[in-house]
């Protein structure tokens, strides 16, 4: 059974889309990542124009993260003040990311930068998370006590001025690195067209020492806000939000996220980190493989978006 997508302007298999929504939603709910870095390539693969895919995935992620965030809010696993500070940096970072993206397009190297950033970022993060969680599991197996957080071992950057106590996260740190983290996540998110949850969650856990569950809940709230804003902006500026596509994805996605969140809460934190590490690493390796393998066809055709038809390509890139 197929359904015609009015903005993307093509028919798609409705159950395949639905299944994709559930699968990505499960991952998203389990790890607190938006899932954009999985969903957007999948949609492009089935033929949705990239601009419509990116925009509609933001809508899907808004719904999915709201559903997940509510579960974490109810359990008191969201640090709202931490999300607010992160968001302040995140919005500035998004602006800077968009500007950099425009600059890269002007010099024609946007594909290279995105590809290489994905590989470097995801592989590094994946390896770090894997090794850390394996060490943690080994410690538990040998009967050693789990990591005790000693204030003395805190990194120097957390002792900068303007300290704030984030009660829920049980941390007392300078506001500067938090805003900086928000900036980096916003910057990378805008540049790579992803929500940034897969960077934020590990950063919160390893750099700021936020408890794993609270880190996931807080990341969900941040994703919710940025993706809602992104939906409205994309619809206004580019007209690329496909409501039908987004609806199918979000119905599947929110269902998947519920199961994912439940599965995540029932799991040991180090196992959760191990799985997320594996996922992030495999996506990174996959992108790396795509960059280096010999393509089936060295030619590709991209149709310029309809609204862009009025303007010649050279002015936009």
């Amino acid at each position: 059974m197929t359904i015609y997508l009015p903005i993307a302007e093509l028919p798609v298999a409705i159950f395949a889309l639905f299944a994709m929504g559930i699968a990505v939603g499960f991952v998203s709910g389990m790890f607190g990542v938006g899932g954009g870095f999985l969903m957007t390539p999948l949609l492009i693969f089935i033929g949705v124009p990239p601009a419509v895919a990116v925009a509609s995935v933001s809508t899907h992620m808004a719904a999915s993260s709201f559903s997940g965030a509510l579960s974490y809010l109810r359990k008191g696993m969201v640090d709202l003040s931490l999300s607010a500070v992160l968001l302040a940096g995140g919005l500035v970072g998004t602006g800077a990311g968009v500007a950099t993206f425009t600059l890269l397009r002007a010099i024609g190297q946007v594909d290279l930068v995105i590809g290489v950033s994905y590989v470097t970022l995801l592989s590094t993060l994946g390896v770090l998370m894997l090794s850390e969680s394996i060490r943690a599991m080994a410690r538990i197996r040998t009967g050693q006590a789990a990591t005790v957080r000693r204030p003395g071992t805190r990194a120097r950057f957390l002792r900068l001025p303007f300290k704030i106590r984030f009660r829920r996260s049980r941390i007392f740190v300078s506001v500067l690195p938090v805003v900086g983290l928000g900036f980096v996540v916003g910057f990378i998110g805008a540049l790579l067209g992803v929500g940034g949850g897969f960077i934020l969650v590990p950063a919160l856990i390893y750099l700021l020492r936020v408890p794993t569950q609270t880190a996931i809940g807080t990341a969900l709230v941040l994703t919710l806000v940025t993706m809602s804003v992104a939906t409205v902006l994309q619809a206004t500026v580019n007209g690329t939000v496909d409501a039908v596509l987004a609806l199918i994805l979000m119905v599947g996605g929110t269902m998947g996220a519920q199961f994912g969140a439940r599965a995540g809460q029932g799991m040991k934190a180090e196992h959760l980190r191990l799985l997320l590490g594996l996922l992030v690493l495999s996506v990174g390796l996959r992108v790396g493989y795509d960059l280096t393998r010999t393509p089936d066809d060295i030619y590709a055709v991209t149709v310029q978006e309809q609204r862009g038809l009025q303007r010649p390509a050279e002015q936009r890139r």
Partner: protein, 257 residues
């Protein structure tokens, strides 16, 4: 030129028109599309368009017919990757300006058997002879048919079912009546489609006819697309609120505690 000279010149021109063009003018071509208006509803997966035509004339053929269907124009970029430092990158591109998004050419027998290469090129019959304007640096030009970017563009569009050559797509039902079928894939772009039919006899074009049909969204699909186009901000807010509602509903639905 004197006044008398001009008059003589004029008479000669009329005579030339009468005798020179008279055989061509005797032929007429009439075509009609089965569906002047293809509607896209939510279960649209493509459509089939049948085109009927009749050649009217003093002679009864044998005729040759070439039909070209061109979809709404779009600008497409063809990229070529190269292997640099172990990575495959888009390094070169050609922009095809205002090319038809859909281009199908149907003939009753292979085009090269119908007329000379020069006439085929002039009448743009066949994918290889359809003019595709490329932007090469500051210049605009169509390039040689075996240009690698042009060939790749045609190949990729053909694999999407949007470009096609049907060398035996026109079927003669009698000596003068014919029929051709065109498949419009689900991803065919909505808009106005131009149909141009050309009648040949003995390698010379005798007559031509044009018609159009449209593909347009209907019902829910149309109103949604129109809303998104007319008021993007309101549409975006509505979609975002809808998304939050779905998230909320799902959370309530699956709430365990």
């Amino acid at each position: 030129m004197t006044r008398a000279g001009r008059t003589v010149h004029g008479i000669l021109l009329v005579l030339a028109l009468l005798f020179g063009a008279a055989p061509a003018a005797a032929e007429r071509l009439v075509i009609s599309a089965s569906q002047p208006d293809v509607r896209i509803t939510s279960n649209f997966t493509g459509a089939e368009l049948v085109l009927f035509g009749v050649a009217e004339g003093t002679s009864s053929g044998p005729y040759d017919v070439a039909i070209t269907v061109r979809g709404p124009q779009e600008t497409a970029v063809t990229w070529r990757k190269s292997h640099i430092l172990g990575i495959w990158l888009n390094t070169d591109s050609r922009t095809f300006l205002d090319t038809p998004s859909y281009l199908v050419v149907a003939t009753n027998r292979p085009a090269t058997a119908i007329a000379s290469a020069e006439i085929l090129r002039r009448e743009q019959i066949g994918l290889a002879r359809n003019i595709l304007i490329q932007r090469v640096g500051p210049d605009f030009a169509d390039v040689v048919p075996d240009d690698s970017f042009r060939a790749a563009f045609l190949r990729i569009k053909a694999s999407e079912g949007l470009y096609e050559e049907q060398p035996e797509g026109v079927r003669f039902l009698s000596d003068t009546a014919f029929r051709a079928t065109f498949a419009l894939p689900g991803r065919a772009r909505p808009g106005r489609y131009e149909v141009s039919a050309k009648l040949f006899r003995d390698g010379a074009m005798q007559a031509q006819a044009h018609t159009t049909f449209t593909i347009q969204k209907a019902g829910f699909e149309a109103s949604l697309a129109e809303f998104a186009e007319r008021d993007g901000l309101l549409y975006g807010l509505a979609v975002a609120c809808g998304a939050l509602l779905v998230g909320f509903a799902a959370n309530l639905l699956f709430r365990r505690d």
